[in-house]
Amino acid sequence: MNVVIIGASSGIGREVAHVFSQEGHNVICSSRDEKELEWLVSDLKIRYDCSACGVPVDVTNNSSIKTFIEKIYENFTIIDCVIVTTGTMPGNEMPYYDEHGLINTTMTNYVGIALILNEMSRRMANNNSGIIICLSSVAGDRGRQSNFIYGASKSALNTYLQGLRMKLYKHNVRVITVLPGYVDTPMSYGTVKQRYAVSPRYVARKIYKLTKSNRNIVYIPPIWWLIMRIIRFIPEAIFKRLSSVF
């Protein structure tokens, strides 16, 4: 398969690149950090003797997205699978009314991804095949005072992916939403106890398995399905008072 990974320079995306190359797929790695992508590609080639390349993109920049789409379809006529692991989370020290935080988070976690997936899904639909796997977060399941700017961008993404899934169903393009709990990457390092976090390699393996399944919305690890069920079940009238817990 030709697999595009957006957000490959770090965390989960980087491990996804490892797992897919190890399994013998051709990976196209993207993110903003061109130097790091170049190193990642050498690393993958040395470790797995695979074919890999890097194409930079900044998902908050529309013209960068256009160049990116042109570039990959110039080099590969068909993309079989796209995995989106870009994301950003404003730090706790940033107030929720920080303008730049709001704009950047929403652009990175929702608008930019939607812009890219709109283009790529269109081409996949024309081909009548394709897999789209997009990382969201359990934080999108319910707004909480601690990180609702991030959560809101993720629930926008979730709704977008639901619609896209329905739209593309008859075109044989699968859309899978992945909702990880805590993962041991820079995004969560130091904020949660490491023992509650799963390794990014574990998440990447699960993602690889998803390419062969018919699932739609997947919590990793699965216990988060139950946890979020319970959290969503709490009536809003009570939930709003629980700021010390959430």
Partner: protein
């Protein structure tokens, strides 16, 4: 909690884990605190701990950047582990020229400690380092090899992280045509025989290593089991991923005591028989302890200590004899001790010198500190030194005696590149300010 492999000492400390080199530059720029890079944390003691500042966990800076498959030169980032190297390169017929006894060590850690292996003749890890780059205290990067900036190049070997953060390294690998090792195991009656068989094997065998019973006194003092080995020349090079046994929790502190140790030593000695020879899988030969992940937990939460020293070849037997006598008499040694030859290394602060190294583990005990000071004195009197990667207690005074000549050459370079002690560790503070 930040700690070395032996769990002693273990202290609270701030840890930063960069995903990319850029994160490291940002850290140095945005921070005034002292910084210490650490790799696999497989050294024993306080060398990989920075209690006052930031500990940089380098294990995610682990990209392989280039491999020259003609010459066998690997260019990789510091956090690449020896296991990564085996996994990727054994199947291609390449292996490390020198490796310490654990594959969880990183390339950066092996350079900073100038680790030695069982093949003393080859030299130490840094004998095969062709170049490296280092992040200095202002976040700038300097590339060095034996022609460019040789002062910092040689001062980084065995420099325990005090010259800067090693970012990437070019290492020469060696060709192998089989993943099997032809190992001969020989029982030795006493220390004399151990040394005799070692010198007899020096020409014929590439790898050599001798376990000693750290409890047996009297005529059989220094009884041991010697292993000598060569690479096999046939059979395909393959890498097998092994399932590891985990020690799920810390065993009670009394698990390792005089009786259990003596029973173990006797059983081990007897199990070998007079002499046997077999083909072993490389990984089992080089990393016998790695099949049990976190085995240090066997010692309980208080951890353990290792004492490793080297003394010049002349008089090595007598010195080891003297030390072993003190150790066996104390009954504080745990499990086995080890002895093997070493060869002088290129690094300014490198541990290896032409001579023999002797190592022994101890259970922490009130009486131990005094015992170890006695050992220091014997080592100093005989022109030897302790291995910093295994140390948690040597006094500043004794350290300066052991490393006196090398310090004169090393200190000016360290001060030139790390003038404000931006790179610092618990060990450094102990040895310098103690």
């Amino acid at each position: 909690m930040v700690k070395g492999w032996n769990n002693y000492p273990a202290v609270q400390g701030k840890v930063f884990r960069p995903e990319r080199i850029g994160d490291l530059v940002a850290l140095i720029g945005s921070n005034e605190k002292s910084i210490l890079a650490r790799g696999g944390g497989t050294s024993y003691g306080d060398s990989s701990i920075n209690n006052g500042g930031i500990n940089v966990d380098t294990r995610r800076l682990n990209k392989m950047l280039h491999f020259d498959s003609e010459q066998g030169v690997l260019y990789c980032q510091c956090g690449v582990t020896l296991q990564d190297i085996s996994r990727v390169f054994i199947p291609q017929g390449w292996f490390l020229q020198v490796t310490p006894g654990t594959q969880f060590a990183t390339v950066g850690g092996c350079v900073a400690t100038d680790a030695h292996g069982k093949n003393w003749k080859a030299g130490s890890f840094c004998s095969f380092v062709k170049g490296l780059s280092l992040m200095l205290q202002d976040g700038s990067i300097v590339c060095c090899d034996d022609k460019n900036n040789p002062d910092i190049f040689y001062s980084t070997f065995g420099g325990m992280g005090m010259t800067g953060i090693i970012l990437d390294v070019r290492i020469q690998l060696r060709k192998i045509s089989s993943s099997l090792i032809d190992v001969e195991t020989i029982q030795c009656r006493d220390l004399k025989e151990c040394f005799a068989v070692q010198s007899e094997s020096m020409e014929s065998h590439e790898y050599m290593f001798c376990w000693l019973d750290s409890h047996k006194e009297g005529v059989n003092m220094g009884r041991g089991v010697l292993q000598r080995a060569n690479h096999c020349s046939n059979g395909p090079p393959i890498y097998k991923e092994k399932r590891k046994i985990h020690v799920p929790f810390y065993l009670p502190n009394f698990t390792v005591n005089t009786y259990s140790v003596e029973a173990f030593n006797a059983a081990y000695h007897a199990s070998v028989g007079k002499k046997n020879r077999k083909k072993a899988y490389m990984m089992d030969f080089f990393y016998p302890l790695d099949c049990i992940a976190n085995w240090y937990r066997v010692y309980g939460k208080r951890g353990f200590l290792e004492y490793q020293m080297v003394v010049p070849s002349d008089g090595a037997y007598e010195t080891v004899f003297e030390i072993l006598k003190v150790v066996t008499k104390s009954k504080l040694g745990s499990t086995v001790a080890a002895v093997k030859p070493l060869l002088n290394a290129r690094g300014v602060m490198s541990f290896p010198m032409d001579g023999f190294t002797f190592a022994v583990d101890f259970m922490p005990d009130q009486r131990l500190w005094h015992l170890l000071d006695t050992l220091d004195e014997i080592v100093i009197a005989n022109g030897g030194k302790v291995y910093l990667a295994k140390d948690a207690r040597v006094s500043s005074k004794n350290f300066r005696k052991m490393y006196s000549e090398t310090l004169d050459r090393w200190e000016p370079v360290r001060q030139k590149y790390n003038p404000e002690n931006r790179f610092s560790s618990m060990m450094f503070n102990r040895l310098y300010k103690g």
